[in-house]
Assembly symmetry: C2
């Protein structure tokens, strides 16, 4: 009965379709290499709000609205919503998705939350408990700086290992695959299919530097990736690309180093959403982008597009999250991390 | 294929067993009416830690360890863990469950998180993706006061509508029902069975008083309860008791009033974990107990015991959560709320 493989992995008997998605980003992301691909680029980063937190809520609201519009669905048709963000008590989500009135599962996996949402959403559909659900996650540079680091007005200097929290949100509409029950009269081709996942565990190498989250998260990415390869009996050759969420350049090197010691060369296959979304040379982001919105917006705008258009056939999407808070940081605790893996396949042109 | 009823409800074809559970609480809870029923009562509220946040992590650690011990299972046998708490970025959970090494879904639903965890854990099993999972949630009076209100040292006066955050944690081991696949040689009788659920949506009546969370949460409890009655085609008569999480005495009255206007008299059937766990007359808790640990510890120690021993046959468990943060409060935002409903049945003596 169990559709599982190893302890941490599930291969879905019936893949779940991502029928539509949307990305909304801020000005800096709009000026980056993926700028032209995002659905909505804010003219300024307040998104019509008076506070940064409300601005982030508006990001989620716009992303989910746009994804629903593309899918041609109303809120009443979405059985469940899986949402999360980086702020304390996930207020960006609570105030962002409230008015849709969709039964809600609030999630917290730091910047890995997009992977957690896609996993739980897909499992709910694959288990037969829903026909269609939505997932949305977000982050905002200014609300995250206030939440985790310093007020913007303080103008602190950031080390080169620091990442830049992406102002952005990605929303995804998941639906039971047409293959499973035959045509329902909907002619829309899905953007991609979720074929399975490997759920991450917390990995803590004892690092304490919140200005080097790439290094804190790389061991979690390596752990989930190795677990995935073991559970599925596969390796890097099984994927066109293996795409981490927000390791940045420092975390990427740490990941490659850890895997190299296991005899795995990931240098050719690896991409990182945090490195894709900004131009590190010209955009002053240091190690790269980060945040719940980083991998979500990049997945919607770029990764799914590559799958949809047939440039890639199969990728492993690995959102990474650093499970710290300002309280844990100030109390001298480590920065534990987590990473979830999602197997995504295109359905060809 | 869908096992659902109405939009927000699911009736499981194969109920999921709660095979074991454990509760760990602080000194004040140990002195309350349920004191003798908790598995572990701390001698003092630090639980061996130097900080309140770490104390709360230790609550989760002890609760999960104790539940695993009762079930006779090792961490490796638990396929997934669903965990959450009230603190920013859920650090009580991250630092509490890290060492178990179980693939983790971090959840945030404020004080409703126990209901969210039981829902997602049960769906994962019912969907065929796991044989056994664990759920754990916690709260701690001192870490919550620091997180949401004032430092303890400030000694602020609390209005009578305020609740007292429970220092406690409840952990639950969920397993595929023996009925589903025949005996597996395990002679243990489950404590109760999860038969279905109604997933809550965010309800916001525009209230802003964080010292009256019962009133903020009562509309969410009413919304989920009415949705449940509509979806399942049932009413209060279908349950021995309908047990909200932490409305307290003020929230209880608000709930009874809202339902009374709909022609439903819940006064006889209704219980509230926040009112069960303390003696309001002698323990200076004002409206009652609250927090992620309130309903979790009460469910494990008292509600499941009543079901297990055959005093009750069927209850509706309704954990309630207020989705505020100190940032949203300080920015003048409302206190939105959410409530999830779980149908629990005893299996008779």
């Amino acid at each position: 009965m169990e559709q599982g493989l190893g302890k941490a992995s599930i291969r879905l008997k019936e893949p779940v379709d991502i029928i539509a998605s949307a990305s909304v980003v801020g000005t800096k992301e709009g000026q980056g290499p993926l700028g032209a691909l995002f659905d909505i680029v804010g003219k300024e980063d307040h998104f019509g709000a008076k506070t940064w937190e409300e601005a982030e809520s508006n990001l989620q609201k716009e992303a989910l609205s746009e994804a629903m519009k593309k899918a041609g669905v109303q809120a009443e048709e979405l059985r469940f919503l899986y949402a999360g963000d980086l702020l304390g008590q996930s207020i960006a989500s609570s105030f962002g998705v409230s008015e849709f009135g969709i039964p809600l599962f609030g999630l917290y996996g730091a910047c890995s939350t997009c992977g957690e949402a896609l996993t739980l959403g897909a499992l709910t559909i694959a288990g037969g408990f829903a026909d269609m659900v939505a997932c949305v996650t977000s982050s905002h540079f200014a609300s995250a700086e206030r939440e985790f680091r310093f007020p913007l007005e303080y103008g602190n200097q950031r080390p080169l290992s620091a990442s830049w929290t992406v102002t952005g949100s990605g929303a995804f509409i998941l639906k039971r695959s047409l293959d499973a029950e035959g045509s329902d009269g909907m002619s829309r081709r899905p953007r991609a299919r979720i074929c399975g996942m490997t759920v991450g565990k917390i990995v803590d190498y004892g690092l304490k530097d919140s200005m080097n989250m790439g290094a804190c998260m790389a061991p979690a990415a390596a752990s989930t990736l190795l677990q995935h390869f073991a559970d599925w009996g596969c390796g890097p050759e099984s994927y066109d690309h293996i795409v981490t969420g927000d390791l940045g350049s420092v975390g990427r090197q740490a990941l490659l180093d850890i895997l190299s010691k296991k005899g795995i060369d990931l240098s050719e296959k690896h991409l990182d959403c945090g490195m894709l979304i900004y131009d590190a040379e010209t955009q002053d982001v240091h190690a790269g982008g980060s945040g719940c919105g980083c991998c979500a917006a990049t997945l919607s705008a770029y990764l799914l597009k590559q799958l949809e258009e047939g440039f890639w056939k199969r990728i492993l999407f690995l959102p990474t999250g650093a499970l710290l808070s300002k309280t844990s940081y100030n109390e001298g605790k480590t920065v534990p991390a987590i990473c979830h893996a999602i197997v995504l396949e295109g359905i060809g042109k």
